[in-house]
């Protein structure tokens, strides 16, 4: 419950300043641009398919529109999540407010979990603010609702993974810039690992392939476990790092 209270405080602080809203504005503008371009390309493709039999047989809204759109949002999160996570611990260390927090009657686990949930809540708010996009498509076309549901789930889990990693980076330094750079380097490494073939251990470690099936409407136990293990590991590592401040 204390973790939830901290999460609520984190989330409120995001929206209490104009910065949170501006981040949301920027995200919606770029996501909207991606959506408009993807939709225009798909409509064009559809019109060609009306008269070109081969295209008609290949046309697939889930693969060519929904999955692509969530892929674009995933790329955005590679940059947004480190920016959100960098401020979770680094400024507290720099301003020496972490000591205050650690002396308050909340456990380190509550602090770590609360800050993570707060950041994830903000990411979820950003993500679900794009809900009018699928609603528009639903009004005019025949999209697969299930693919949208799993697409949002996959993207949220991807964001969770990136935030947890960024949070660890933030706990290791007092500089937000360093935390941002560390987190973005980690995110990019996890992103490019997928290029090493689908069966290699590197690709299994990569974060995106575990979200890709969800962007297509498939949920796998292995992918859910991957995200749970990934997030769990980084939250635990962050917990250990923050705990170190108690006895250092």
């Amino acid at each position: 419950m204390r973790a939830l209270a901290i999460a609520q405080r984190e989330l409120s602080s995001m929206f209490a300043s104009a910065t949170g809203w501006l981040v949301l504005t920027g995200f919606l503008a770029v996501a909207g641009l991606f959506w408009s371009l993807s939709l225009a390309a798909y409509v064009d493709y559809s019109q060609q398919a009306m008269v070109t039999p081969y295209l008609a047989s290949q046309l697939d809204m889930t693969e060519h529109l929904i999955s692509q759109y969530f892929g674009s949002i995933g790329i955005l999160f590679v940059f947004i999540c480190p920016a959100l996570s960098m401020r979770l611990f680094a400024p507290e260390v720099a301003n020496r407010t972490l000591e205050l927090l650690l002396t308050s009657p909340v456990s380190t686990a509550d602090i770590v979990l609360g800050k993570f949930l707060g950041a994830l809540g903000f990411t979820a708010t950003m993500l679900f603010a794009t809900a009018p996009f699928p609603l528009m498509l639903w009004q005019w076309g025949n999209p697969d609702l299930g693919a949208f549901v799993t697409g949002y789930l996959g993207t949220l889990l991807l964001a969770g993974a990136l935030l947890s990693m960024g949070m660890l980076a933030s706990a290791f330094t007092r500089s937000q810039i360093v935390a941002f750079m560390l987190a973005i380097a980690g995110a990019l490494i996890l992103w490019v690992l997928q290029a090493m073939g689908t069966d290699s251990w590197q690709a299994e470690l990569a974060v995106v392939p575990h979200a890709q099936d969800m962007w297509r409407g498939i949920v796998r136990l292995s992918d859910l476990t991957y995200f749970a293990a990934f997030i769990g590991f980084f939250l635990f590592a962050t917990h250990q790092r923050v705990e170190a401040h108690r006895w250092s």
């Binding site: 300043s17 104009a18 503008a29 046309l59 290029a195 090493m196 590197q202 409407g217 293990a229």
Partner: protein, 546 residues
């Protein structure tokens, strides 16, 4: 030694640099090359050197309280990492998959499951794909469902580069992937498409020794069964039929009549009206126990359409238009009809279908309640909001008018001939229709009916008031292809082929008007971000006031 101690950080830097280069090489070459290995070892040695040079400081740190807690912390993190990896490995080895798509696009169709379950002998699928290729991974995923449905099916994923002997043995030349399906001495190959349809059809071909001969009537401007380029061609449908052990042969009806070895006659979208002797040949074929599928477009071949009456089928000179946007393609075109499950009448052809049938420029087809000697049943009906438009001259009159069929308009009919004499077949030569400008008696057309023709019950006929469902551009939409293939299967009494087939391309078209596209841009790029920006502004102003 003092100097080395002072610059011990250089060893650490070299170690870190080597680590980065090592990772980069592994990324670039997709594995640990010799160079990467040497650099990695060098980096590790550099780190060991750093540890040895700074051992006193490190030891001091390790012996301190903080150092010991730190060590415990590192060990705990290591244990958690092990648990995380171990847990993931267990989940991966016992993976479960849930298909959340509305149309269950990643779940095997009933037909594929039934084909796999019905395998009579051991079948091995040898899939030659480069290790780690996306196409190979997708194919392996696809085969999971087949393997679960049959204990006679085994799948071998083979990398032709790593197993050149096996690749040569099976004559693998296509680099992008080849699938060889082997059962005893028989084999089938897939070299271009590796989807569910292709695999299921290959298994059907492998298991079924039975071939069906379909005769495609030509000579009156029919659709081209070889055309796989134009939207109205029938090449795609024919390719799929051939993938299921059907042979499609062109038949020059005006000169050859209907060959007795045909199992079914396909009459698809003739644009020139049939002459009387051809119409009698069709009647003799049906009356002699033959089977035929007739697809006639609105406004074409009025004589042939009128002649359907002898089979208990009424085809009017009309065009079915839809008033309800929900039953129109993209909600726009009234001549493009979307028929849902509630529009499918009860019949073995339509019973397995649960999707959408998409018709375009269809004419009405209905059952003649007064017909004798035949049992005709409606297959498809329009929505209650459609009507059969008969006025093509005055646009002002277009709309449901008195005398026009309104609501639940018939669009396809299936007929079984009980008493062939009711068809009133003539084996005599027929008089040609009189032509304008030609004086004298019209010439006589030779009979296309064999002199020893005899009536035989059991003839079957399916009449559809549109040819769009089987056309290249229409066959992949919803249940369109299934409807045509099921019609043919019903004609041939092939009950096991009456099913809903896998379809990789459901109705996926998205047509937006310019206004709708503008609205998308307005909402996505301006309205939503603008709303968030407004809230940012309000927050900023509020904070300044505080």
């Amino acid at each position: 030694m003092e100097l080395m101690h002072r610059f011990s950080w250089v060893f650490a830097a070299i170690g870190a640099l080597c680590g980065v280069v090592f990772l980069s090489l592994v990324y670039l070459y997709g594995g640990v090359t010799d160079e990467a290995r040497y650099i990695g070892i060098f980096g590790a040695v550099a780190f060991v050197g750093f540890a040895l040079l700074d051992r006193e400081q490190l030891s001091e740190g390790a012996n301190s309280r903080a150092g010991q807690r730190g060590l415990v912390s590192v060990l705990l993190v290591g244990v958690v990492a092990f648990i995380a990896i171990f847990g993931y490995r267990i989940a991966r080895d016992h993976d479960e998959r849930w298909d959340w798509t509305g149309a269950k696009r990643f779940t095997l169709s009933d037909e594929s499951t039934s084909v796999a379950a019905g395998l009579q002998r051991p079948v091995t699928i040898k899939a030659f794909f480069a290790e780690g290729s996306l196409e190979g991974k997708r194919f392996e995923e696809l085969t999971e469902g087949y393997v679960n449905a049959s204990d006679k099916l085994t799948v071998e994923m083979i990398d032709p580069v790593k197993n050149p002997i096996e690749a040569e043995r099976w004559d693998i030349v296509v680099e992008t992937g080849t699938v060889v399906i082997v059962a005893g001495e028989d084999e089938q190959r897939l070299e271009a498409r590796f989807d569910e349809t292709s695999l299921t059809e290959a298994l059907i071909r492998l298991e079924s020794g039975e071939d069906h001969l379909l005769c495609w009537a030509v000579g009156y401007g029919e659709a081209d069964p070889d055309d796989d380029r134009e939207a109205d061609g029938y090449g795609f449908a024919v390719i799929r039929l051939e993938g299921r052990n059907y042979t499609v042969k062109k038949l020059k009806l005006p000169v050859e009549g209907i060959a007795p070895d045909c199992e079914a006659l396909l009459v698809v979208r003739p644009t020139i009206d049939w002459l009387p002797n051809a119409r009698e040949a069709l009647a003799a074929w049906i009356g002699g126990g033959g089977r035929a599928l007739v697809m006639l477009e609105a406004g074409a071949t009025p004589e042939l359409a009128a002649d359907m009456e002898r089979y208990g089928v009424l085809m009017a000179d009309d065009l079915v238009l839809e008033d309800s946007p929900e039953h129109r393609q993209a909600g726009v075109d009234p001549s493009s009809l979307l028929l849902f499950e509630e529009n499918f009448e009860s019949h073995p052809i339509t019973a397995p279908l649960h999707g959408v049938i998409d018709l375009s420029y269809a004419r009405s087809v209905d059952v003649d309640p007064e017909a004798e000697g035949v049992m005709a049943r409606r297959l498809l009906s329009s929505s209650p909001y459609a009507w059969a438009e008969t006025n093509f001259d005055d646009p002002a009159l277009i709309g449901p008018n008195e005398g026009e069929k309104q609501g639940d308009v018939g669009l396809a009919v299936a007929v079984e001939v009980l008493d062939p004499t009711a068809l009133d077949v003539s084996t005599e030569p027929q008089a040609a229709p009189a032509l304008e400008g030609l004086e004298g008696a019209p010439p006589t057309l030779p009979s296309l009916v064999a002199a020893d023709w005899s009536a035989k019950p059991g003839g079957r006929l399916v009449v559809i008031g549109d040819s769009f469902p089987g056309s290249n551009v229409g066959v992949y939409r919803g249940n369109n292809g299934d409807f045509v293939y099921n019609s043919i299967a019903w004609l041939l009494d092939a009950e096991d082929e009456l099913t809903e087939r896998p379809n990789e391309a459901e109705n996926q078209l998205l047509n937006l008007s310019a206004i709708q596209q503008g609205l998308v841009v307005l909402i996505s790029m301006f309205f939503l971000p603008g709303f968030a920006a407004l809230l940012a502004l309000i927050t900023l102003v509020r904070r300044r006031r505080l």
